[in-house]
Symmetry: C2
Subunit: 332 residues, 2 copies
C-alpha cells in the first residue's frame, strides 16, 4: 500500500512528519511517499530508513493564510498539489497532510474529484469522548447545506465508523438544541425527518452538552454549527486549562499542590484520547484524503497514517460509492 505524506504544514516542521512516517512502519506494512523539500527530508533520515521511503521533491508550500482556490490553482510546485496529482493519477492509494484544511478541501474537489452523487465533501473530526470517541461532521466545509446532503454525509460517516469503531451498525445523532423531536432550525427539523425515515441507525438529537459524553458513533451537523461547536469547545478548554495552570503557578504552596496532582491529572486528561486517531478523512473525495491537525506530533501523525491505511484496506470509499449509487438509483 502506497501512502503519500505531505511533509509541509505542521507547526513542528518537516522532521516531525518524516519521523512519524518511519514510526508508522513499525505498526503497519506500507510504502511511504514523502512529498516535500528532498534535501531536508533526507537530512532527517538515516541510511537504513532512506531505502524504505520514496521522495517526491516539492519546494513550495501552501500556507493557512493562502486563499485556498488560488493556492491550489497556482502553487503547482507545492507539496500538497503535487501529492494530490499523484493521488488522482492512481500512483498511490491515499494521502495525508497536516496543511491548510481549506486548501486540502479545495484540492480534494478540484484535483482529486468527488464521489459520484455527492455534491460536496465534508470535514470530519474525531471528538475525544469520555465514554467513547465520536465522528463529527461537517465541522466547517459547507455552510448552508440541504437536509438531503446532510443525509449523504451521515451515510458516508457510517461507512467510516464501521472501520474506525468496528461497529456493524454505527449510530447517528443529530446535533441540535434540544433532545425532543420538533426542536431546532429548519435544517435540523428536516434532517431529523430524513434520518428517521432512513435505514440508518438514528439515535435522535444530541445536545452540545453531551459532545464529550454521547454514546453515538456519529454526530451530524451542518458546517456552520459544527464549526461553532468545535471552536467553542477548543476555546473553553484552552481557557479553563489556562486558569488551572495560573492557579498552580501562583506561589510555592500551589506549585507543590500541582506537583502532587500531576500524575493523576495527566491520567484524567488522558481519558480524552487525543492521540489515538491522529487524523480524519475528508469524506466525499474520490480517493482517500486525510487531514491531520497542524499542531500534530510524531505519535499523533503516525496514528493518522495507521488510520488512513485501515481506511484504504477496508475499502471505505468503495463502500460509500456502492451506497451512493443505490441512492442515485432510488432517486431516478
Amino acid at each position: 500500500m502506497k501512502i503519500l505524506i505531505d511533509t509541509l504544514g505542521a507547526d513542528k516542521g518537516v522532521k516531525e512528519i518524516v519521523e512519524a512516517s518511519i514510526l508508522a512502519l513499525d505498526r503497519i506494512d506500507y510504502e511511504p511517499i514523502l512529498v516535500g523539500p528532498e534535501d531536508e527530508i533526507k537530512s532527517h533520515l538515516n541510511e537504513a530508513d532512506i531505502s524504505k521511503v520514496k521522495i517526491i521533491d516539492a519546494k513550495d508550500q501552501i500556507f493557512n493564510e493562502d486563499k485556498p482556490t488560488l493556492a491550489i490553482r497556482r502553487k503547482k510546485e507545492s507539496s500538497m498539489v503535487k501529492a494530490m496529482k499523484f493521488l488522482k493519477e492512481g500512483s498511490a492509494d491515499g494521502m495525508i497532510s497536516p496543511g491548510s484544511t481549506g486548501a486540502l478541501l479545495t484540492g480534494a474537489t478540484l484535483i482529486v474529484g468527488r464521489i459520484d452523487n455527492v455534491e460536496r465533501a465534508a470535514i470530519t473530526l474525531i471528538i475525544p469522548g469520555l465514554k467513547s470517541n465520536t465522528i463529527m461532521l461537517d465541522v466547517g466545509a459547507n455552510m448552508d447545506i440541504s437536509p438531503e446532503l446532510g443525509l449523504k454525509f451521515a451515510r458516508m460517516a457510517k461507512s467510516y465508523a464501521k472501520v474506525l469503531f468496528n461497529h456493524e451498525n454505527p449510530s447517528i445523532g443529530l446535533l441540535n438544541i434540544g433532545l425532543e423531536e420538533g426542536k431546532g432550525n429548519e435544517f435540523s427539523l428536516k434532517t431529523y425527518e430524513l434520518l428517521k425515515e432512513s435505514d440508518l441507525n438514528f439515535a435522535g438529537n444530541v445536545e452540545p452538552y453531551d459532545l464529550m459524553t454521547t454514546e453515538a458513533d456519529i454526530i451530524l451537523t451542518d458546517g456552520f454549527a459544527g464549526n461553532i461547536a468545535l471552536k467553542t469547545a477548543e476555546g473553553v478548554g484552552k481557557n479553563l486549562l489556562g486558569l488551572f495552570k495560573e492557579a498552580i503557578m501562583s506561589n510555592y504552596k500551589t506549585k507543590l499542590g500541582g506537583l502532587l496532582l500531576k500524575d493523576s491529572l495527566k491520567k484524567a486528561l488522558d481519558q480524552l484520547d487525543l492521540d489515538s486517531t491522529g487524523a480524519a478523512p475528508l469524506l466525499g473525495s474520490k480517493n482517500p484524503v486525510f487531514k491531520a491537525h497542524g499542531s500534530t506530533n510524531k505519535d499523533q501523525f503516525a496514528a493518522g497514517i495507521v488510520q488512513l491505511a485501515k481506511f484504504i484496506e477496508a475499502g471505505v470509499i468503495e463502500d460509500i460509492e456502492k451506497d451512493m449509487n443505490k441512492e442515485g438509483e432510488n432517486n431516478d
Copy 2:
C-alpha cells in the same frame, strides 16, 4: 420602584428566592412583590421583613417540562402567569423569574406583548469573560431569523449594554466561523453587511474561540448557533472541571495537592464573574422581563434584581422604543 419576583422555578426552592429579595433591599430601594405560595413565602420571612414585601398568592407552577404555549394559556393560577398579568396591567415596573425560559418567552409575547417594530423577542446571556463580560443574543429563542431582525437584536442589546457596562457606544461583534469578512453562512454574511452599513459600533466577526476573551460588549448570533455555542461551553466546562475533581479525589497525595491549590483555584475561577449579573433580560418584551438561571443562588438572584432595577431606572425599553420607531420611519 415595584418589582415582581416569581418565587417558583429555582432548583434551590422558594426560600432562596425570598431571601434574595430581602438581600437586594440592602443594595437598592425597591418594593418587592413576591408571587407564589403565600404560606410558604411567609414562613421564610421574619416579622420585620414581612412588612417590606407584598405577596401575590399563586399556588400553581410552570415546569420546564410543560409545553410553553399550553402552560401560559392554561396555568392561569401559576406564579409566572400571574406576575405577567400584573406587569401587563402596569401594576409593577418589571419582573424576574428563575422559571422555564420557554414559558417566560411565550408569556412575554402572549401576555406582556412586544415592542412595536420588533417581530420577536430574544434571549440574552451574560458571558463571564476573562477580560470583561459580554452580552450574547439570541441564545435560543429564534431559530431561523432574518438579518434584518438580527440587526434589531443588536440595536436592543446596545441600549442594554449602555446601562450594564456604562459604555457610551458599546461594540458589537458577530459570532462567526472566521474573522475575515466573507466567512460564514447566509445569515452571517448578510448580517455582516447590515452591521457594517449601520451606525452601530461594529467590531467585525468574533470566533467562538474568543467567547471568553473577546472585548466586544455584545455578540450577535441567531438562536440556533447561539444555543449550540452556549451548551457546548457549558458541557466542556462541566466535563473538564469533573476531570479535575476526579484527579484531586483519586488518593491521599492528590487530595493534599487539591487542598494546597484550593484558594488559588477559587481565585482563578472567580475571574469568571458568574455572580455579578445574575440574570438577563428578554429583549423585545414591552415591559422588563428578566430571566435568572434555574440553578441561581441567593447572591446571584439578588444581583439579578439589582440589574433589573438598573434596567428599569435607565429606561432601557423607552430607549429601544425610540430607536425602533426611528427604524420604522426609515423603512416607511
